[in-house]
Structures are given as C-alpha cells and as structure tokens.
Amino acid sequence: MTANVISLNGLSVGSKDSLTKALESEGCSSSSCGSSDAPEDMDPATWAKVKDHPCYSEEAHHYFARMHVAVAPACNIQCNYCNRKYDCANESRPGVVSERLNPEQAARKVIAVANEIPQLSVLGIAGPGDSAYDWRKTKETFQRVAETLPDIKLCLSTNGLALPDHVDDLLDMNIDHVTLTINMIDPEVGTKIYPWIFYEHKRRMGLEASQILHERQMQSLDMLHERGILVKVNSVMIPGINDEHLLEVNKEVKKRGAFLHNIMPLISAPEHGTVFGLEGQRGPTAAELKKLQDACAGGANLMKHCRQCRADAVGLLGEDRGQEFTMDLVPDEVTYDPEKRETYREWVAKEREDRRNAAAVAKAETDAAVADEAEALLVAVATKGGGRINQHFGHATEFQIFEVDAEGVRFVTHRRCDNYCVGGYGEEDKLELVIKTLEGIDTILCAKIGDCPREDLEKAGITAIQDYAYDYIETAVSAVYRARHGLPAAEIETA
C-alpha cells in the first residue's frame, strides 16, 4: 500500500514533524486553542458524542472520516428496495458491498485504515444484512477493534427488529450511536415495503410482519433513548408509498427522542434487481425530497449531508477509498501507529475553533453591511474537506451547496456530478452535465478553474470565483453575499 498523505487546504502532511511545523507556522489566533465548545443549540454531553462523528454532525463531516465493514450479512427482514445478491465495486449505494469479512479480518482492516487515514473516527456496521440480527459477528468485531483502537467510535445501523435483545451489550461496549431504519409508523404502509420478516423462528407475512416490526422499532427507539444512546433514524422516501407518511414518522421519532432524522431518496432501477426496481417504482426528485424536508421543519432535526454510502465505504463522506483497502491489500499482521491520528486531532481542534471564530466575524460583518430583507443566495463549493475551498473545479465529484442570507451561512445539501476534468483535460459534454447539476446556483467557489469552463458557467448565469482558494467556506460565502448586495467588502474579483 502506498503511503497516503493528508492533504487539507494545501497543507500536506506526511509525518508528525511536518504537521507540527505547519501548526507552529500558522500560530494560534483563538483564545481557547485546543478546546471546541458545543454550539449554542446543543448541550455539552451531546456535543461530546457527536463532535467527531461525520454522520451526526455536519461540521464534523468536514474533518472526520468513517469506515464500514461488512461482517454480518444475514438479515431478518426482506425489503422491497433491497436485493441480497447484488455486488458491484462501482456502485455506490447502501447495502452494496464487494467483500464480506470475518471479525478478525475486519479488525485488521480497521487498523490498516487508521494507520493511513488519520481522519478516521468512526467504525460502522451497516449491512448488507442486519447488524443486530447475527449479533455475535457484530459484537466480536467491535470487541476486537476496541482492544486496539479504544478511541474509535463504534456505531451500527439496524432495522430494529432484533435490537431490543442487545441494548445492554451496546452499553457495555460504550456504543452511543445507533441508526434505526424506520420507513413507517403505520403497519398498513409497511405492507407495501416489507413482504416478510423472520421473528421468533417464524416467517411472518403481510400486516402481521409490519405490525411486529413497527412495535420492535418503537421499542428500540425508546430503549436507546432511555439509555442515553443517540439515535439517528434513516427513512427511505418512496414516492406514492411513504412520502407523505414520512412527515408523521418525523413527528413520532422526534417525540420519542431521536437525535436526527435522515430522509434518503429511494435509489431504484431495474438493473438493481429489487422488487421496486423491477416494478418501475421511481425514486423522488430532488425537489420532492426538498419539499418533504421543508415540511418537516419543527420536527426531528434533519440530516442533509448524507451521501448514502456503500456498506464498505472508507473515508470522508463524499469520497470512497474502499478500493485502497480491500483485504488482499491488508497485511496479515498490522500494528497500530497512533501518532498520525493524535496529531491530526490536535490540529482539527484548533482548526475548527479558528473556523468557527472566522465564521462569527464574517457573520458580524454581514450583519453590519447587509439589510435583513436582502435576498438569499445559493453558493456551490468545491472542497476536499477541512471546511475550506480547496478543490479544483475540474476535480470535483460533488459540490457542497450553502445558502446564505442575513441570518447567516447554512449547509443545504450536496450535489453529485462526475468530475469534468479527467487526465488533465476537460470534456465538454461532461461540463454540460456539471452545469445542469448546478442549476439554481448563483456562484461557485473553487480553488482553481480554467478559462473555458469559467466562461461557459458565466453563460449559464453562474459566477465562478477562485479568489477564495483555501479560505474557510463560511468566510468566503459571506464575502460573496456582501459583495452581491453592493456593499463594500474585501476586494473581490471574479476569476
């Protein structure tokens, strides 16, 4: 395996020495260096749990990486959006995986990844199959990893049917994040999603299946909440089946203490071989998803930065380096080297403090310079992580979308696209697709962009700016906003 280098905001880090030097040369502009206080709307205990978890904190997802291992492929329910035979290295969606590991292999792989990717903070077991059903394998994997890497957060994703039987084990292993997939709170709706479940040694069909599943899911949510374990609820949005119903699900899971609700669009195509795919059931459009998310305002907090990653994904959300860590590339014996991760964490603590302070300063400047009723803007950002504008336009495989108005800068969503620039050359037809992806976007911020794509974007009404290369996202987006409303700001020139 080649030695990977951390590359964030132009800071390339190969060793503790070089990272420490970089830290020293940057100095520390914040008064509370090293600490990172909870945001105003979160209690400190909860913040301590989520601050390094990329799936539970939008802010953390700029800094921390997760990995999944597929160790428990058996499942106790059948879902119409899942095909248990599917396996493809090029396909990115939940439940898809290319290799299944035993707990010993999985633990070895986690160490290999931790040695190469210092951003790694979370190990998840998320399918294919149900992590709580064949619990022996999930438990053994977690125990093995905890022995070597006690600071890795362990989390699992489950349908909840078997979970109530293992909640005490979760507490023993200090697991404080569980994702429950809940697609309905009305068993009648469930009958259109779940043909059967296997429960207490019997296959149960139809309404009985959904009734039991629903009761066990609610029991899981209640038990987890009572024990202080944070619950993220994942719901697959299936137009015509549970789309309107998910509003009720959102209210119910909030009432029962869910920390976050992640409404994910159904991914469905005939070639996936799923019941929905073969029946021609479509997924929702981006607009339909947005409408439902907006309608859920006031209910459970929504996760909007989910990338619906593969069950064996490795890396920051939005990137998947799983192919670098297939089992044939993992040595038979690996020794954990904590140095890179420790150094990275020190660096992140300072970096996110600086970023938050910079965002606060930018917000104050905006408050002073822009009228409250000024119109909101949507700004796309090309980033490789770290909360900075640090990616070449042509290398972006997704753009993070931020909305800015007088209230401040908010992450809205991400939009995926193929990278336009391949092997140093931009392809015109790909650029067209990228421009389509950016529909409705006012400005795109990137580290660099060529003249041709910049002009084409301009023709499509999108301003591309590279002057904020390596700046913090919030600072730059605020500056764009102030510039747009005709008020004096830092010198801004379009690239």
Binding site: C75, R84, K85, R100, G129, D134, K202
Partner: protein, 71 residues
C-alpha cells in the same frame, strides 16, 4: 416421487445462495457449515427441524426463494 423416510434433510441450491449465513445462524442442529465459498447442509445432522420448529428454519429465513429445498 415420494421421498424416502430415511432422508430427512434439506439442501442448499448453491447457484441461488447469497452466502449471507442466516441459515447457519438459525439451524438448531448445527448442520450447516461454510465450506469452500458456500454453505452446505450435512444430511446426517439435518432433521428438517422436526421436533424443534414448525418449519425448517433455513428455508424460513433464506432471502432467496427455492434455495433451501428438500434434498
């Protein structure tokens, strides 16, 4: 053709098997083992779950139809 009384066993159709291992997990007789990339049922140990459950557990839990079938 009527099955012989002595052969109380199921078998796994390998071309259908997703190798999820749910059958191994549920088998009350430990009759199912993972061998050379697939699961197989030991006919000496398989009782078709008679005396244990109403239906053979491997066939009940298997996600693919017609995969755990009478041998």
């Amino acid at each position: 053709m009527p099955r012989m009384e002595t052969r109380m066993a199921l078998q796994i159709i390998q071309s259908n098997c997703t190798v999820c291992g749910a059958c191994e997990f549920e088998c009350p007789n430990a009759a199912i083992k993972f061998e050379s990339d697939t699961y197989i049922i030991d006919p000496e140990l398989c009782t078709e779950c008679k005396g244990s459950y109403d239906n053979p557990q491997c066939a009940e839990v298997c996600p693919v139809p017609e995969t755990c079938v009478p041998a």
